[in-house]
């Protein structure tokens, strides 16, 4: 039984049961200290587990994150290695373009 905030990806990887939630990466069950809200998502997963009757059972949970998108943090303060390398490469390209 899985949870996911990227339904299209999950549907492509042979997951038999999944609940989808539009919550940010790293807080897919709810925000810090919101035990009631976190439990609501776990309850929904448990319900789906008990009621699903066949593979590819997917449910979109209706819950909306409490912060607007632009104020919702999920990325780390220090970019991951791949992201950092891409940023460096883009900076190099800009530098080269500017020097032409």
């Amino acid at each position: 039984m899985s949870l996911s905030n990227v339904p299209e990806m999950t549907e492509k990887v042979a997951v038999s049961r999944a609940a989808f939630i539009q919550y940010p990466f790293g807080r897919q069950l709810g925000d810090v200290g919101d035990r009631e809200g976190q439990r609501k998502i776990c309850d929904a997963m448990a319900d789906l587990l008990e009621t699903s009757t066949g593979p590819n059972t997917f449910v979109h949970l209706p819950y909306e994150w409490h912060e607007p998108l632009e104020k919702t943090k999920w990325r780390p303060d220090i970019p991951a290695p791949g992201g950092l390398r891409r940023m460096q490469e883009e900076a190099e390209e800009k530098k080269k373009a500017a020097s032409k």
């Binding site: 905030n5 539009q22 925000d31 780390p76 791949g82």
Partner: protein, 166 residues
Amino acid sequence: MPVAKVDSNYYHDQSERLAQQRPNDPAETPWTPMPKPLSECKVTLVSTAGIFVKGDEPFDYGREWAEPSWGDPSHREIPRTAGQDDVVYSHLHIDTSFLTRDRNVAWPVDIFNDYEKEGKIGALANTLYSIMGYIPNFSPLIKRTAPLMVESMKAQCVDVAFIVPV
């Protein structure tokens, strides 16, 4: 406003990755019916947050920094008795500070302990599991790590795994 359909690109534009992803044939999705009511099942948890017990071998981020297209495909086993501060939440691609403050944002050990006390689940298994979810080459995950995790779960008579990716 209730969400009618979860948008895969809402927090991060995944369209390029989604276009590259080879779809599974839905007809081949595995299916295991529930063997008994959840209230009688032994349950485990699986996270992708790169969680490991302090003092255990960390996930290999040194190699990821050297080769950013590589991610550690191994897993770690975490005793259910490990507390909030007994583990490291180490995934480099997400802000783990929220998990550090309250693990139940994506690692619901306390909630499943409550489930056990209330009889909603039969029992929480002694061992819980984490991988680190950035694994561009997932072949070792499928061929080596997943079978090891399954073997461990079977040895503990686990009936159900709840997977909470981050």
